[in-house]
Symmetry: C2
Amino acid sequence: MDPEGSAGPGTVRPGGRTARVRAAVLRAAEDALAEQGFASLDLADIARRADVGRTTVYRRWGTLHNLLSDLLRDMAEQSLPRTNTGSLVGDLTANAKLVRRTLTDPRQGALFKALIAAATCDTRTAEALQRFYDARIKEWAPCVQRAIDRGEVPEGTDTHEVIRAVSAPLYYRLLISGDPLDRTTAERAAEAAAAAASAGAFVRANRRREQRDDRG
Amino acid sequence: MDPEGSAGPGTVRPGGRTARVRAAVLRAAEDALAEQGFASLDLADIARRADVGRTTVYRRWGTLHNLLSDLLRDMAEQSLPRTNTGSLVGDLTANAKLVRRTLTDPRQGALFKALIAAATCDTRTAEALQRFYDARIKEWAPCVQRAIDRGEVPEGTDTHEVIRAVSAPLYYRLLISGDPLDRTTAERAAEAAAAAASAGAFVRANRRREQRDDRG
DNA sequence: GAGTTAACGAAACTGGAGGACCGTTATGGA
DNA sequence: TCCATAACGGTCCTCCAGTTTCGTTAACTC
């Protein structure tokens, strides 16, 4: 009756078949999203791909958005390698290259596009997407913290914001401009973020700015 | 039989009723997109809002994507005010504030979200979206050119890329992170883009980089 | 290893989105 | 002013996504 979250830890019998079905459906959903995007997508097709009964998918997830939220929760749990090159630009460049590799991969790029599109239509999916990116960004934030410790970047810098600044231009290309995501773009994004961070552009609790914001 | 683009200049009787219907439907589509997003949207609802027969909408546009492409074409024709403050940071800040105002407006923000989501699902809509942003960016590129002429920014700088760099972090917040689009964010985006431009980050035909790209 | 029941799946049902048909309106041309 | 017809709109029809029903399978318990 209340399918939301029922696919998660709330299930009474999470082992064996249930877990297999969940995994198969989530993989099928990824495939379907990557291949045909978000709009022309129905649960029946996903069920067919997963070799699972239509009814099961409708009952356990109910709506497409519940399924995608669950998929994002699942994706957030898989972690990716970080790096430690010794310099902020080095680490940010590694991050930019990783993001670029992901987004230029036909399957993954299409998948992320579709998930972001889905998030624009549904609040719960949007929250799941935010949690996913928060998890990813948390993994990379330490490289900015190390830069602070080394004195490369001013104290009080918003570490998460620096990581986000690397991704922003790459996602802009993916979603809006459609320009190719080449190496140059990735390196430029990393260098620009590093430069801005060093210049103190991401220091939070910036008095002057906050006062201006309060007045406006 | 071939509805694609038939709502545009291809119509045989573009005056009077036809034009009225087109305008009403496009406005209704905007409303519907802004209010309920892209996913839960059907042409029947749009027809009702426009006070127009369902059949008309299906015949003239056929699919939702044709309608949205047409809407984007229409939006691209409406131009917005530019500025000339005398400095690159000033102009870019004005641009950032304009973009921020647009995206924080509940109606417009939702509309752009929905259009971007639609573009991820359909190539033709994606092209229309790119044309729309190209038009907008072309209007602002001259302020970067003036900065080049003043010697504020190196020769050979990709003017369009600088303008895009201002928007990227704002759209990242709108679509992905969900963080509030406050004044600070807009100013920071403008300052970061200006700083990166001055440092020569957007100079195209950068030999060293291109060679590296060729090798990779 | 036997019983209980959560979870799955096949088949039949239903509502509404999208399309076909055809009469009506009003535009552009003479 | 009148005609030809492009374009609109009401009605009916079709098809399929999403739901309900009920029998089957296989986790968990003791």
